[in-house]
Amino acid sequence: MSFFLQLLISGIMVGAIYGLLALGIVLIYKATKVFNFAHADFLMFSGYIGWMCLVSFRLPFWLAFLMAILISFGLGVVVERLFMRRMIGQPVFSAIVLTIGVAYIVRGVVIAVWAGETKMYPHVFTTDVLNFGPVLILREHVYLFIIAVVAVVILVAFFHRTKAGLDMLATAEGHQVSQSLGINVEHVQSMIWGIAAVSAGIAGVLLASINGVSTAFYYIGLIAFPVVFLAGLESITGVIIAGMIIGVAERLAIGYLDPIMAGFSSVFPFVILVVIILVLPYGLFGLKRIERI
């Protein structure tokens, strides 16, 4: 039982980070109907940026964290400006293929700069263990969990409480309508890409500080897809819950399925993904849109 609780708690903790990561994909999907396949590479990029700030520049953690956020934001804006802006008014299909191309460019830059090596983060927080009854948790992980949750809360508040955020939600509903309401759609789209990259940036630094960062980080980034689909593609608040569900499922697979079938936990979220699409194609919190010609 304590083993189960242990997996459950660690699943919820890592799941919050997955939720944060998936938030970026949902934002871009809502605003432009584009799946961003470059998101996993944004994650990898910011993991390496965080390492560079922490180890190469010897910055304190909070400053390195801030730098990683800013640089990720810059990456998102640059990608939008150079590539995605040309896709306004083009078929969604082309834009999706374009994000795949962008993914490879970002990955190539990462390999060129950091040679694709595995980089370990230094311990940022004290490494002592907290006792919750039978469950042991690293204090570090508690902090990471809190940072992830706070980041999600700030982002959600930003979307529902500020003018800029509401502009973005309006743009998500329809480009033409929001343009006639005086919203600058190009500006909003560039902000959305920036913020989506920030969500990958924060998640990247947090995940990298657990296990270090390597080019295999890309596969961790793909876990965002099961999360997004479980949440139902359009729900900003849903992704955090879906993230925790996927996180718990993954940890339970590590605990119970891996001893039977080695390495199965790495593909388990994707098995769930296929089942979700089979059973609940609109996810837990998604909207079933009814279309007219």
Binding site: F35, G101, I111, A115
Partner: protein, 352 residues
């Protein structure tokens, strides 16, 4: 567009694929060239063209489902892997004749494809992209998990084809197996897209609600497009296994799947000729990068491992960059350029 002076007087002329005497001449000349190629091509070039032909078959399948039906597939390489491994297992474990194993491998791949396609095609949107991405990861995991069957990461040896007592292992011999099958597959694809099925695929791609109003069963046709695509992948996989004689999971990674997408983007979405253009250009480019990459990396000041990682980084950037450039600046691909050249030539000296 037809050259001047060619008029259709009968319905058969209207529907013919080969329209003019010059086209017949070129086609027969090309077929003769392909037939005689092993006599004068070097072994390296032969194996290059064999790989290209196999890639063309896989990309044709992707073109049907992505270019014509508008459903993105991100796991084509994994389906090629299913074809390759089921071919090898059929021959080795079940002692099926390799000639018979090729179509059976295609059918097995189709059924694996349908398992992943079925949940996705029910709903509108790019769900097939996601389930095939999942298929890519799950299939490769299963291949490396069933180590005693597939050899895991070390791969497995594939038995060669035989005709009577002759064993086909040299590239010249494999050439005469791969090339006819490639031509047949191109012919099937070319005819499929102008049949009732192909036109339904295009209708679904352009507007699925309108297509369903016209009486096209969207679910069946989307699934059919994907099943045909998987069948092509299965055939490509078994030919791949035959030509390489040793298959490892590394040959079927996610990057390979994206490579297939790049081929149809570069060649031109929604054209069969585009697949051939795309495969020729990108495979040529790959060879070029493999040859030039280390030289450029060393020239840029990298040494040893730094040069290796720099050249692999360049490969990845060039690869992504080509996809981006074509999507942004020439979304209709090389086929479109080819059409312009052809029209200009036929109308010259008049502009239109």
């Amino acid at each position: 567009m037809l050259p001047g002076g060619v008029f259709n007087t009968r319905y058969e002329q209207e529907t013919a694929i080969v329209r003019t005497g010059a086209q017949w001449g070129l086609l027969i000349g090309f077929l003769a060239l392909v037939l005689l190629a092993p006599l004068f091509l070097s072994v390296h070039l032969l194996s290059f063209f064999i790989t290209m032909a196999i890639i063309i078959i896989g990309a044709l399948g992707l073109q049907l489902v992505t270019g014509y039906c508008g459903q993105i597939v991100l796991g084509q390489a994994a389906f090629v892997a299913v074809g390759a491994y089921s071919f090898a297992l059929l021959c080795l474990k079940l002692n099926v004749s390799p000639w018979l194993a090729i179509p059976i491998a295609g059918v097995i791949t189709t059924s694996v494809g349908v398992i992943f396609g079925l949940p996705a095609v029910r709903v509108k949107g790019f769900y097939l992209a996601i389930t095939t991405l999942a298929a890519q990861l799950i299939i490769l995991y299963l291949i490396s998990y069933f180590r005693e069957l597939t050899g895991g990461p070390d791969g497995m040896a594939v038995p060669p084809l035989t005709i009577g007592n002759m064993v086909l292992i040299r590239d010249e011999q494999v050439w005469y197996v791969v090339m006819p099958i490639t031509f047949i597959m191109i012919f099937i694809a070319r005819n499929l897209v102008r049949s009732r099925f192909g036109r339904s695929f295009v209708a679904i791609r352009d507007n699925d609600i309108a297509a369903s109003v016209l009486g096209i069963n969207i679910f069946i046709y989307k699934l059919l497009a994907f099943a045909i695509s998987s069948f092509f992948a299965g055939i490509a996989g078994s030919l791949f296994a035959i030509s390489r004689m040793h298959i490892i999971p590394e040959q079927f990674t996610f990057t390979e799947s994206v490579w297939y997408i790049a081929i149809i983007v570069v060649g031109g979405m929604g054209t069969i000729t585009g697949v051939i253009f795309g495969a020729a250009v990108l495979e040529g480019l790959k060879e070029g990068i493999i040859y030039l990459g280390p030289i450029v990396a060393t020239a840029l000041g990298g040494m040893g491992t730094a040069a290796t990682s720099l050249s692999s980084a360049m490969t990845v950037v060039v690869f992504g960059g080509i996809i981006c450039l074509f999507v942004m600046f020439e979304p209709r691909g090389l086929t479109h350029l080819w059409e312009i050249i052809k029209r200009t030539y036929r109308l010259w000296p008049f502009p239109y």
